[in-house]
Amino acid sequence: MSVELIRERWPGKVFTVTIGATPAEGGTRARALTIGGHTSLPFAGDAPSPHRPLVAMEVLDVVPPDWPAHLREPLADVLGRPAEWARKCVEDYGADLVCLRLASPHPDGQDAPPDAAVATVRAVLEAVPVPLVILGCGHADKDNEVWPRVTEATRGERCLIGMAVPENYKTLVVACLADGHNVLAEAPIDINIQKQLNILISEMGLPPDRIVLHPGTASLGYGLEYEYSIMERIRLAGLQGDKMLAQPLAAVIGSEAWKAKEARLAEEAMPAWGTAAERGPAWEAATAAAFLQAGADIVVLLHPAAVAAVRRVVAELAAVPAEA
């Protein structure tokens, strides 16, 4: 007896967003990457997604002093050298994207001038052929100084730049509009505010297919289920036809997962928890695996072992083979 599979059909569709531009498209990337386009829940088999999730690796221009040794160790030769770090992410670990976090301009840290940030961005852009995600330092005034310089220096490269937040989105949106970039819009664990932010950004003239949503930061044991359920609700609303929640989703996981004591603690401090070198990456990878199930289109990771594990998860889950 044959069993008829019930396939759920939705009226809406998640927008596609393309990150990166080839020379033919006015950029310098080896190829552009497209995310989104989904017409069903992730990996549900109702309708295969046209674009698989991407694994990005985070590269910082300043490494927090409190990073544990077992996170520093695999990256020891490149820490403090963002361009080399980025190259290692792509060449050695197979990252689809590099996510460059410009932490150095923060006034409480190095308070680096915008010029320095621009130089870092240029160096990373030259070092790798993949598209870039660029994150600011999170200090509104300083970000607003840095962003327009960064978008100008990368004009035509169609980067994904964030975070636009409800309190500070206008400068970034104007800069991205002018220089042809995509905007990463963040509303922490609040679907109503995420939608509101999208409406505000759209009303400035940025098309809805140039926005990626970042509905918060969380990790296993520290709010994962809240972010998971918000991502799931966003996807459901988008599939039901709400165009202001029909954008692809990003999850910046690495830096958050490594805040968890379960990831950080040295072996001697908690022998019962097992090898630190495995525990940290596992924390990161488990968080990423959950968010992929919730609909993340980009997961941003730090540890190479986590990247390897998540790349396997994506390959096994995705109904379509990786692009290229």
Partner: protein, 263 residues
């Protein structure tokens, strides 16, 4: 909520003039304005034209299609005119409308199947307009049964419980609402429930207020489609607010803000 814009109808004087003078620009403008205001589909009705109504329907459909690509609701009491509209229609189409009367269903169900169109069905039959919710449900059941017999998917069926003017048949406003939950339980997948909203306020002085009050009530009873005037901004605001209150749409502070991308 599926909104069908009602404005391209020869009953309106300006539309009648545009038809008479074959003023395509005026029709196209009306089509674009309704879509910009939030209509998901457009109703096309020639109104009472002296000349060949099939030819007028064809012209209207072609003219509107040049301006927008939304689905069209081909609206005529005459099956031949509907057929002409469907032939001209390139995209998704709805037939507006059949009734429960045998003769109508026999003519329009095959037409819907032939053209892959959805079908709006008024719950009236040879006996006329039903007097209460139960009688509406009885006709609805007959329509659903016919559709299922013919192999027509019930989720492509839009049942209309017949909204009558409050000024003429006050008791019927409530009966039409009461029929809606019954319609939804008739079959699986459930049929859509549609209303021709503006009829409720025919002959009254507070048309917009009555329309939007009734729309909110109908949505609460399960109505998921309406033929209405999308250029009535208050009405559209009530529709969006009711969608939020019924948890059909995610709330945010700017949910009423007009943004083309949201539609």
């Amino acid at each position: 909520m599926f909104i069908i814009g009602e404005r391209i109808n020869g009953m309106f004087r300006s539309v009648a003039r545009a038809i008479r003078e074959r003023d395509g620009a005026a029709i196209a403008d009306l089509a674009r304005r309704q879509v910009a205001a939030g209509a998901h589909a457009l109703d096309i009705n020639t109104g009472p034209v002296g000349e060949d109504p099939a030819e007028v329907m064809t012209w209207l459909v072609q003219t509107v299609q040049e301006a927008t690509d939304v689905p069209l609701s081909i609206d005529s009491p005459k099956p031949a005119v509907i057929a002409a509209g469907l032939r001209a229609c390139r995209g998704r189409a709805l037939i507006n409308s059949t009734t429960g009367a045998r003769e109508k269903l026999d003519a329009l169900l095959p037409l819907a199947q032939e053209y892959g169109a959805e079908l709006i069905a008024l719950t009236i039959d040879e006996r006329g307009i039903p007097r209460n919710a139960a009688a509406r449900a009885e006709i609805a059941l007959a329509i659903v049964a016919r559709a299922m017999e013919a192999g027509f998917p019930t989720d492509r069926l839009y049942l209309d419980p017949i909204v009558l003017p409050v000024s003429a048949a006050q008791d019927q406003c409530r009966e039409a609402l009461a029929a809606m939950p019954a319609f939804r339980t008739l079959c699986e997948p459930a049929p859509h429930i549609i209303i021709g909203l503006s009829n409720v306020s025919q002959g009254t002085t507070n048309r917009s207020l009555i329309n939007r009050t009734y729309l909110a009530m109908a949505m609460a009873m399960g109505c998921d489609a309406a033929i209405l005037d999308p250029l009535d901004r208050d009405l559209m605001d009530v529709m969006r607010t009711a969608s939020v209150l019924l948890n059909q749409e995610i709330y945010c502070d700017g949910y009423l803000q007009p943004a083309e991308g949201r539609r």
